[in-house]
Symmetry: C2
Subunit: 211 residues, 2 copies
DNA sequence: TATATATTTGAACAGTTGTTCAAATATATA
DNA sequence: TATATATTTGAACAACTGTTCAAATATATA
């Protein structure tokens, strides 16, 4: 009987890191197990040993950091006072991801690029996004409803949808806005983005959720 | 010498339609030429005859409708008066895509799902999105600057970035919000989304672009 | 009708894909 | 040290990949 402790195996972590980086760049089907193992410097058979199939490896890549992210988001949301403003609710939801990404940790940067792709993919969104991130999303919605007592539930959900779109494109780090703005705006300037994103989204929520 | 008139060949259009539908579902690498030709009911060698490589076929899929979309958006923007409100500018930019998608045309629905994925992909965004859509995007930015004379260029570009994120996630039609909201919100209800999206984004722009 | 051109067919090519497994090696336990 | 378990190795499998091409067929031109 084999007992695999993925979290403690440096080989397993090397595979996850390489898979994360390559999936973020080229997507699930754009990357082969040989790409991953070559990048990680390990044998081809090892992903199967630790994770089973390629699909299970993919899901492990997602779950490794979603657990951390969900905990941080949830605790930031529950730390809020009952009278919290929409600004602070949006900050609580978006800031944990942002802080991880701007820290310079290349793993988190790859992860956020990967999640952005998944969130906009018909194939993966329901299967992965819903499963991993909906509980925290519902807590965000619950807090926002308290903030706008007269808002209809639909309005709050659509507001969350717009927030999610703006946030995921930001974390996608595509570099398109750099080209469009002739390098006036930098995809990597997450602090500058954040300073504008929270007011932008707060005003948007107020516009559709206030009577 | 072979003279190929792609736009008039029903075979070429069948290939483009099938490629569009399958790429929208599974992405560039998730679809093989055999999937496409089987779906279209044509021989394997025909994509090469009409389009050359798989990559060139992919780009033809994108360009076929981006030409139409760009013309409609550009003419909607230039039809605006000089004193146009941010609401009307956002409408001019987003409405053409919306109208095509809600018309029930399955081809345009597939196309919008595909563009949403490309917009959030590091691999394709610069190569395809910038090339296809930046001229019209710059016209949007130019009109928005007139609307907010005291706004810094950076603020307008970032506003466009948030708009683009919200819009692409909407057109991605992932169905995630349906699950999250327990079917209270429907991804397919583009009219209901639009009614909220324009006010949401207008308020966002005002928040970061007004002094 | 005869000729030229456009299109379609069916097969083949070499390279890559995910997955499997017995054997070899390393590590921990007794 | 001896034994059991965990991990790594290297090769093999059949299926699938994008691309190519000569031959066959259809269509237009003269």
């Amino acid at each position: 009987m084999k007992i695999i402790a993925i979290k403690k195996s440096v080989t397993a972590q090397k595979i996850l890191d390489s898979a994360e980086a390559l999936f973020a760049e080229s997507g699930y089907d754009g990357v082969s197990l040989r790409h991953i193992t070559r990048h990680a410097g390990v044998e081809l058979a090892l992903p199967n040993y630790y994770f089973g199939t390629k699909l299970e490896l993919f899901k492990h890549v997602i779950e490794r950091r979603s657990e951390i992210l969900n905990e941080e988001r949830m605790s930031a949301l529950t730390r809020l006072e009952n009278s919290a403003s929409i600004d602070s609710i949006i900050s609580a939801f978006t800031e944990p991801f942002l802080r991880r990404t701007i820290s310079g940790d290349i793993g988190w940067q790859n992860y956020s690029r990967l999640v952005a792709q998944i969130a906009n993919s018909a194939r993966w969104s329901r299967e992965i996004m819903s499963h991993e991130f909906d509980p925290v999303a519902l807590e965000f919605v619950r807090r926002t409803k308290i903030c706008f007592p007269s808002a209809k539930d639909q309005d709050v959900f659509w507001g969350f949808h717009f927030l999610l779109g703006a946030m995921t494109l930001t974390f996608a780090q595509t570099g398109r806005i750099d080209i469009l703005s002739k390098e006036l705006c930098k995809t990597t300037d997450l602090v500058g983005i954040y300073k504008r994103m929270v007011p932008f989204l707060s005003a948007g929520f107020s516009a559709i959720c206030e009577a």
